[in-house]
Symmetry: C2
Subunit: 499 residues, 2 copies
């Protein structure tokens, strides 16, 4: 890959949105494509996605799920079978209507157009999500209680025709996983939806070092066709929240629409209970906005495609020989311990240019080796998040994993502290308005449960209820009244402006 | 997953095509979907694909390639920029023309149709392959010789609107990888195309136990837009050939169409040389038709999702306790050695039913453990390909991997022998006609190089030139005349009927 151009990264304080795009471009994580709203995920970004997939996939398998693959296309009539579902997706689907191109005969030699004679009898929708096509198959596969639970997951691309797109955060096409399960009882489906929420939380905190709130979505924010939607929300450095995953208890809505029934042990016939859940390449956007700084990407070590870069420093040919030999040995030793390490031996670049480049790409540790280091039997270890110290070569195989683990923990800790500094509890209406106008963040307060209050608040402050938080995130004292209208509170809510 | 229904598998000798579909259904590898020509890959089939991906991906990375991801959609005008390319794909593309559904107002409550007001200005083609969109990005990324070679690969889905579809072999949507590279010189591109052909061959022989011929495609069979196409061909049990992978030297065709130029070290401006190469889920079809038998799937051990199944045998509760304990210990011990092992403890099924089921699913080794085995400190090891013998528990951790490796080698050997038995060299025209009418297989003979001969032969025998074989596959004596028209031969060719 070509080295990144020496373009500057806009400081966060000046323009957060520009900064975000600059970080992605400078680190070569992704790029805009000629197709409106679709991005190209470049090797560094895709490798990060592969590492995420590997960790999540192992967690799904450990909880009994198997991967499968379902068609990209969904007959338009399938989408329409569940009323709320089609309502939710009808305005953002890519629709395939023809299957041949023909020469137009005008507009130059190569001009083509859909051949009218190839129009499909029933147009096909490019999957925005796969409930309908998957549950149509479940109806075929599930006959008896012995076939339950059925626990599947698929890794794939989906398309939602979005009008305002942002790299990773909101793109017309994105990559994700979608889990789909069928259960004999409501309690089992509920337990599954909650279990996956826990898996997502563990992944996002332990791997991405991104602290999350979990809880229930209000009816106005839940998934189109779900009984209940649980979600994870993470606060970004600009104090806006990102929904970083959802897990839905679908009840029997889709089972009824697609006639997914099973024979009970007693011989009766019942509809199954479904769940579905997903996280997407949007997570990469969340990771970037949680940790990165004005020098570029900061990658949590567990998901860093390159965890350690070795930069040799020399002037003479003689120095070069000794330094490269030592650097190569360090590389080999670290690789043996399972560290993802790269030796940057490019002769055409000065060490400073390399530092700059690998910082922008978020590499957690840099090892500098010069002739004096070689003579002293050491290297200089610099952390992406600050700090530089000599480490003896003998200690390196122990010190590098130790430093990586420390950085991983420190990133989570720092993000959690930042979030708490930008959270406000037990707000009154005026405090809420001021908070959202000034810095923003997570505002905890009483909520009367009415969609009217939600709509008013959104109009006035652009903030929405991110979740009705799970018990461990709730304030010690339950709010008594709705912070907006003053009526009795039915639940504590967490508001924020959101991506 | 529900146990397979006790439906019978049609014998190969009666109807090979029915047999193929039965094997897939019985093993639950895949299923037909409600979308014409699109299949569902079920967990066992998908796990096999994951194992294939893992092995291939490691080989791609070891040869310096990185993964990336490019958009699903291609503006129709892009496809048209390379004349041969659009000619080759225009008749089989899914075309997106609209982005919203609306209620029809007729045909029932849920009836929907594409909203005419959402028509796209430029229709988008669902990628049938990604040369055009990828080289459009290469034009942006490549400036100088320092940016070369650029070695990318992507794992994704593609769509080709096929009229006659078969599970795995030919489906409207399929999964594949497509490598795309750019090089400074023709020689480097040619070396890359050849290198990948070698990678594919190694994978197909060492992992799939599927012997292949490699060689050059004739102009009438080459990829639309390529300079040269190399391919791998494997002979199935019905003596038809499957094209199991292709590697193209694209020359500068796409570089010129998309203006991908680089500055040379000397300061000049040159078009790059591209290659592209791919293998798909079609490989699973090839694997099935190479090894499987009338009892179902035979999976080569290296790609078997489950390599060993343990079936406990008992009558009394007392026996059950001892047997299950021993079985669990065997499972744990084998798992530690890295074997993919499953203990089938389902109480509702008799051992015989389990044998039947795991045979159909292609599990290479079955370990039977009954009370007498426990007492004797042994298990009975049965091979999917025949043969059964006791193995001492102490020896199991050594004997199981040994047996798996032996089976892997034996499958390749058997397939190679079968292929050679069904190959005929130095054919005359009449021999060729008789051979294709009778058993079929690989026929080697002289070829004059004319497309007219190819067309005539296809009309008369349904056989096509699979490859002009690489040197190691050629007959000891080069043929002097075209086996069909008698004119001087320009190359030896291998003909077969093909999938």
């Amino acid at each position: 890959m070509p080295p990144p151009k020496a373009q500057k990264i806009t400081p966060r304080a000046r323009d957060f949105s520009e900064w975000y795009t600059d970080v992605i471009q400078q680190a070569e994580l992704a790029d805009h494509s000629p197709v409106r709203g679709c991005m190209v995920i470049r090797p560094l970004g895709y490798r990060m996605w592969e590492l995420m997939q590997g960790a999540l996939d192992a967690m799904f398998k450990a909880t009994g799920h198997e991967n499968a693959y379902f068609p990209l296309f969904i007959p338009q009539s399938f989408l329409a079978r569940e009323a709320e579902h089609v309502e939710g997706f009808a305005k953002e689907v890519a629709i395939v209507t023809h299957t041949r191109l023909r020469a137009t005969g005008k507009g130059g030699a190569g001009a083509v157009e859909p051949d009218p004679s190839s129009a499909l009898e029933e147009p096909l929708v490019v999957r925005p999500t796969s409930e309908t096509i998957i549950y149509a198959m479940f109806a075929k596969w599930i006959q008896s209680y012995r076939d339950l639970p059925l626990l599947l997951n698929q890794w794939c691309n989906v398309v939602r025709w979005e009008f305002r797109t942002r790299l990773f955060l909101r793109t017309t096409e994105f990559l994700w996983q979608e889990g789909h399960t069928a259960h004999a009882t409501e309690a089992e489906a509920e337990a599954e939806a909650r279990q996956i929420l826990g898996v997502y939380r563990r992944f996002q905190e332990e791997w991405m070092a991104m602290p999350v709130l979990t809880g229930l979505k209000t009816p106005s924010e839940k998934f189109a066709g779900a009984l209940r939607t649980y979600a994870l929300e993470a606060l970004m450095q600009d104090n806006k929240s990102i929904q970083s995953g959802t897990s839905h208890n679908l009840g029997q809505n889709f089972a009824k629409a697609f006639n997914v029934q099973y024979q009970t042990a007693a011989g009766g016939l019942e509809h199954v209970w479904n769940t579905s859940w997903g996280v997407s390449t949007r997570l990469i956007g969340g990771l970037i906005m949680t940790h990165s700084d004005d020098n570029g990407l900061v990658a949590p070590p567990r998901l860093a495609p390159i965890q350690v870069v070795i930069v040799p420093i020399y002037k003479t040919d003689d120095e070069q020989r000794g330094v490269l030999q030592a650097a190569e040995k360090v590389r080999g030793d670290l690789e043996k311990t399972g560290v993802r390490v790269k030796l940057d031996g490019r002769p055409e670049l000065k060490p400073g240019a390399k530092y700059f480049e690998w910082e922008a790409r978020g590499v957690p540790l840099r090892l500098e080796i010069g002739p004096r280091d070689v003579a002293a039997g050491q290297v200089t270890m610099a952390r992406r998040t600050g700090g530089k110290a000599p480490v003896r070569l003998d200690d390196l195989a122990a010190k590098v994993p130790e430093a990586l683990a420390e950085m991983q923990g420190a990133l989570l800790q720092a993000a959690r502290e930042r979030r708490e500094q930008h959270s406000i509890r037990g707000v009154t209406k005026q405090e809420f308005i001021d908070f959202m106008k000034a810095q923003g963040g997570f505002a905890y307060g009483g909520f009367c449960g009415s969609a009217e209050c939600e709509a008013e608040i959104k109009d006035a402050t652009a903030a929405t209820i991110r979740v009705l938080p799970d018990p461990e995130f709730r304030s010690p004292e339950a709010p008594k009244t709705c912070m907006w209208c003053g009526k009795p509170s039915v639940a504590e809510a967490v508001w924020a402006q959101a991506y």
